[in-house]
């Protein structure tokens, strides 16, 4: 059923546009086509008949208003025939509201140079604000370590449980599998040369020195780094951080330091677990695939793998932990008052902390090799 229509009729110099039924958002486009088809230049007057419409909204009022203005410009006489007060008032409202500014002003488009400049500026500010964060952290650290009373053991213990002990399972499993995979892939190569026993040297050094710390750091960055960002970000949105500050509780010593210290304590322990599980994984493969017995494996292990490799791996722990925790917390503090920014900063925190860990590992690698350790 069509309950609306526009009929046009022509007499000598007059066009009559008669709107019937419902006149709303939904039928304007068909009216527009009909109106566009008319060649108004042949006529002198236009009469718009709105007497028989049953519904009229602001969009249609804008349509009529635009038509009115256009025809006026073309020097035609227009008359609107209508008795309905509501319709007339809507038309009047539209006329007065539209006034001079017709559309929402379009935002000026940025040029390439603008956007490069803005990006650079914001990157630079981001860098400075991270430096400011580190500075404040350092200042708090000095204050924090001045007296044993300031150290919040309860919070630290809670965070160690949350981010250290509870991560044992996943770290153990991941490093076990990595040990398994590395051993399996290399056993295939070693068998060709009949150098089966060298699997021990290879696994011992690569797992203790590089793989265990790196795998642990990546798991912890995904696990704790993101958690720190989300926790602190949410606290910022709910104004909990503001509340702490007004009560005189410094968020740095209540939230930031315990997390950093807890992670710096947990990380070496987790790396130790990863060492054990990684070597165990390798041992299983060596046993099954290369027929190296456990006794032989362990004997060879003590013979060829120096303790320094183990200590280097463990030593990396606190450094990685500091990077992960401080980036996670910094990103949490950067959260703005909207929900989108939690997601954005959490993603950033994980990506940046994994990146930072790898860069740090590379630096260590070069440093230790050059030092001959």
């Amino acid at each position: 059923m069509i309950n609306f229509s526009l009929t046009t009729s022509y007499t000598d110099e007059t066009v009559l546009l008669k709107f019937l039924g419902e006149f709303s958002l939904y039928n304007i486009s068909s009216y527009q086509q009909q109106v566009d088809a008319i060649n108004f230049q042949k006529f002198k007057t236009v009469r718009i008949d709105l007497r028989e419409i049953t519904f009229f909204d602001t969009a249609s009022a804008i349509f009529i208003n635009n038509l009115h203005n256009r025809l006026k410009q073309e020097q035609l006489t227009i008359s609107i025939i209508c008795e309905n007060r509501d319709v007339l008032e809507t038309l009047k409202l539209v006329q007065t509201q539209i006034g001079s500014e017709k559309t929402v002003p379009v935002k000026k488009r940025e040029t390439f140079i603008d956007s490069v400049g803005k990006k650079t500026h914001s990157q630079l500010r981001g860098f400075f604000s991270f430096m400011a964060f580190l500075g404040e952290l350092f200042a708090t650290k000095i204050h924090y370590l001045k007296s044993i009373k300031n150290i919040r053991f309860k919070e630290i213990a809670f965070e160690i449980n949350e981010n250290g002990i509870r991560a044992f399972g996943i770290v153990a499993l991941t490093s076990f599998l990595i040990g398994l995979v590395v051993a399996y892939q290399s056993s295939f190569q070693l068998k060709i040369y009949g150098a089966n026993i060298f699997i021990v040297d290879m696994l011992g050094i690569s797992i203790l020195r590089e793989l265990a710390p790196l795998i642990t750091a990546i798991v912890i960055a995904g696990r704790s780094g993101s958690a720190f960002t989300a926790q602190i970000g949410a606290m910022k949105i709910t104004q909990e951080l503001d509340a702490m500050r007004t009560m005189g509780f410094d968020p740095y010593s209540f939230l930031v330091m315990p997390r950093i210290i807890a992670l710096m304590i947990s990380m070496p322990i987790l790396i130790f677990v990863a060492d054990i599980m990684g070597v165990l994984g390798g041992m299983v493969v060596a046993n099954i695939d290369l027929e190296i017995t456990t006794e032989l494996f362990l004997e060879r292990f003590t013979e060829v793998v120096a303790a320094k490799h183990f200590f280097i791996g463990i030593l990396k722990g606190p450094f990685f932990a500091f990077l992960i925790a401080s980036i996670g917390i910094y990103r949490g503090l950067m959260v703005k008052d909207d929900t989108q920014s939690i997601g954005y900063n959490t993603t950033k925190s994980v990506v940046e902390s994994i990146f930072a860990v790898i860069v740090c590992d590379a630096v260590f690698s070069i440093l230790f090799t050059n030092l001959g350790i």
């Binding site: 709910t238 104004q239 909990e240 503001d242 702490m244 500050r245 009560m247 005189g248």
Partner: protein, 246 residues
């Protein structure tokens, strides 16, 4: 009357946006003082500046005799124990129960026994009209009105002289809002508080405030008693209080 807060020529600028351009106002002891104005005029910003959450771009604020622009860390810590702040949504610590939230400042700043702290917490819970049964609920388990009351109890934990309230009745139903107003008045007479609040609630403004400052167009458009408002010629005052005073 003793001055509690004095705001002198405060300017606030965010980027290109000037929020305050030379605000002056004085809050005396025992007053319930309201900061009013159209949205975006910087009422909450001024409140945040008074509690040292934000720095002013120019001018100075004196709170309880301390100049906030030149305050040392130690002094600031002392000052922070002398006021209580209630945030718009309560801002309770979500990892702690209501009772733990209220007890936290007492545990941190005093060496009172566990038993006495418990008694103080129970007293504060009663005074704000919360049920003691609910003391062990967590912030996520209680309603908005209860959060505000719990936030108020926490703000009162250290028996402050000065109380800051950021839109205390927003988001409450009319009955709870009137109860909250009555509570503020009761607390003022019981504890001799000075209260500074930001509010939009006309009823609450009329019922509780002794003095108001209206911020409009970056300046103080009016400061004084509610009765004096009808003589003001600010556009905002006319529309906001229009029905009442014209």
């Amino acid at each position: 009357m003793k001055k509690v807060i004095e705001v002198k020529g405060v300017k606030t600028i965010f980027g290109d946006n000037i929020v305050h351009d030379g605000l002056n106002l004085t809050i005396n002891e025992g007053e319930i003082y309201g900061l009013l104005g159209p949205s975006g005029c910087g009422k909450t910003t001024l409140l945040r500046e008074m509690v040292m959450l934000q720095k002013v771009s120019g001018g100075n604020i004196d709170v309880l005799g301390h100049s906030l622009s030149h305050i040392r860390h130690k002094e600031a810590q002392v000052l922070r124990r002398e006021w209580g702040v209630l945030f718009q949504a309560g801002a309770l610590f979500s990892s702690l129960s209501i009772a733990q939230n209220i007890a936290l400042p007492l545990q941190e700043y005093t060496n009172l026994s566990e038993k006495l702290i418990n008694e103080i917490v129970a007293f504060k819970i009663n005074i704000v009209g919360l049920n003691l049964k609910d003391a062990h609920l967590y912030p996520s388990q209680i309603s908005g009105g209860m959060k505000k009351k719990a936030g108020l109890a926490r703000a009162l934990a250290m028996d402050p002289k000065l109380l800051f309230l950021d839109e205390p009745t927003s988001g409450l139903d009319p009955i709870s809002a009137r109860e909250f107003d009555a509570l503020i008045l009761k607390l003022r007479s019981l504890l001799g508080l000075t209260v500074v609040m930001v509010s939009h609630d006309l009823q609450s403004i009329n019922d509780t405030l002794d003095k108001v400052a209206i911020i409009d167009n970056k300046k103080i458009a009016y400061e004084g008693s509610l009765e004096g408002l009808k003589h003001s010629d600010s556009e905002f005052i006319k529309t906001f209080f229009g029905n009442k005073y014209e």
